[in-house]
């Protein structure tokens, strides 16, 4: 059974064993507007919890993408680099950003459940 959690920076993370898949939430894409550029971390690099691990840009502005957990980047999604509009279309499924080999599963504990995140997103955008 995989576990999906959410960060305050509007990333989602799905954990399957030691493999964590990370992307940005639908709510985040709605706030950003049309995404026209995506930059991803390098495969094989190590990223630290809450550190910058990528960039997305809309026509208006650039925003950092953070990693909600630490680990080694084992895969990145070239599809969203080639066609960033896919992030607006399907942010929580096919338009994932990167996969990590998670370093410390306990880092998942501080993240939000779907219900908690939805409440958080609603409160912060009001």
């Amino acid at each position: 059974m995989s576990e999906v959690k959410y960060s305050k920076e509007h990333e989602w993370i799905k954990l399957d064993g030691e493999e964590a898949t990370i992307g940005i939430t639908k709510h985040a894409t709605e706030m950003l507007g049309d995404i026209v550029f995506a930059e991803l971390p390098e495969k094989g690099s190590n990223v630290d919890k809450d550190g910058t691990a990528g960039v997305v840009e809309s026509t208006k502005a650039a925003s950092d993408v953070y990693t909600p957990v630490s680990g080694e980047v084992i895969d990145t999604n070239q599809m969203i680099v080639d066609d960033p509009s896919k992030i607006n279309e399907d942010p929580e499924e096919s338009a994932w950003f990167f996969k990590l080999k998670i370093k410390d599963k306990s880092e998942m504990d501080s993240l939000m459940s779907k219900e908690e995140y939805e409440k958080f997103a609603k409160e912060t955008s009001a």
Partner: protein
């Protein structure tokens, strides 16, 4: 400070606008479709822009008005025919641009369209330079609506018949619901289009009738990407008090007949015409998909800083990042290789011709 609302505020909300503060006004940044769809709809059909935050300054009274205005603006106002418009500048004594504007000769004087953020200051500056001798009205009882795009003339003609006979950079009086409206053929998108000056109380029904005829409301977000593709300057980004029209590559807007004459900033401009300028506004095309925004530093191949980007975005019609900025004049030639510092990396780019998007009125042509 109270945030002002235009007469179309309720309409913006009705059509799902995301509202932001811009130059003291609550303005729509985008509607439900989003910036890219709005941009493309303007290029393929027509878009309605609420530009009522801009200043509509009417100046009249006195036979010497044309002469006195020529002491302020570097435009050839004596040659201007009634209802003809020219792009010009309000400059300071150093030749720096205080505002860029459109001057139209009306039947009893001149109408000057000013940038929203500059309009109150412009009013004071112009009034004082005219020694309070004329009647100046910064008319806030009027809204200003821009209709832009290849279908603009057909849409507007259905609502106000006869306006399609206007020539580019010309205006005329028309009638809408028994009230006078003033329409000019002009715009800020690189498309054919019109700007309609209309009573605040008629603005909402007028815009609704444009929508009924197939046009859509477009926000400031798409207005910005459209003007950048068209290579047009945004005051405060690409033009400011420390930049002259020559440096801004807007020499074309200073007629030859005025170079030897006197106006505010004329000495500096005359000197720049003769000896050239150190920095020049250029178009910039990044090699990759990376977007260089305003204030991005520009370097040469020896890693020396040679300028900075003043506007940059992703161009939805050219489907590529675009930018403009100022570089040391010796790097301003088209196809010169430059480097843009984005997030600590040097991104290769080329100096390119403006505009990025050039309309061919038979069929669309893209210039990247």
């Amino acid at each position: 400070m109270n945030i002002k609302k235009t007469s179309l505020n309720n309409l913006h909300i009705k059509y799902g606008a995301k509202l932001v503060e811009f130059a003291g006004y609550q303005m729509p940044i985008q509607y439900k479709d989003g910036i890219i769809q709005e941009h493309k709809y303007t290029r393929s059909h027509s878009g309605i822009f609420d530009v009522s935050h801009m200043g509509q300054l009417f100046i009249s009274g006195g036979d010497d008005l044309t002469n006195d205005l020529e002491k302020i603006f570097p435009a050839d106002l004596k040659k201007l025919k009634t209802n003809q418009s020219k792009y010009s500048f309000l400059m300071n004594n150093k030749g720096g641009i205080q505002d860029d504007l459109i001057i139209t000769k009306t039947s009893d004087g001149f109408l000057i369209i000013l940038n929203a953020a500059c309009k109150y200051n412009d009013y004071e500056v112009i009034k004082s330079k005219l020694d309070n001798q004329y009647k100046l009205i910064l008319d806030e009882s009027l809204s200003l609506i821009a209709l832009q795009g290849p279908e603009a003339k057909n849409v507007l003609n259905k609502v106000i018949p006869g306006c399609d006979s206007l020539k580019f950079m010309n205006g005329n009086n028309h009638v809408y619901k028994n009230e006078k409206v003033y329409i000019t053929r002009s715009g800020y998108t690189g498309e054919d289009g019109f700007e309609i000056s209309i009573k605040n109380s008629d603005a909402e029904t007028f815009v609704e009738s444009l929508i009924e005829n197939g046009s859509k409301l477009i926000g400031l977000g798409a207005r910005d990407t459209l003007r950048m593709e068209a290579g047009l300057c945004l005051y405060g980004n690409d033009l400011d008090n420390d930049t002259s029209p020559i440096e801004a590559n807007l020499k074309w807007a200073i007629p030859k007949s005025r170079i030897e004459t006197e106006f505010v900033g004329s000495e500096v401009l005359k000197n720049q015409f003769q000896s050239g300028v150190k920095k020049l506004r250029v178009g910039i095309k990044p090699d990759s998909k990376v977007i260089a925004r305003g204030n991005t530093k520009i370097y040469n191949d020896k890693n020396q800083e040679i300028g900075k980007v003043t506007s940059g975005t992703f161009g939805p019609s050219v489907e590529h990042p675009i930018a403009m900025g100022y570089v040391d004049n010796s790097y301003s030639t088209v196809n010169t290789k430059i480097f843009l510092e984005v997030r600590g990396k040097k991104i290769p780019a080329n100096i390119c011709n403006l505009p990025f998007y050039k309309k061919n009125y038979v069929k669309g042509e893209i210039n990247v």
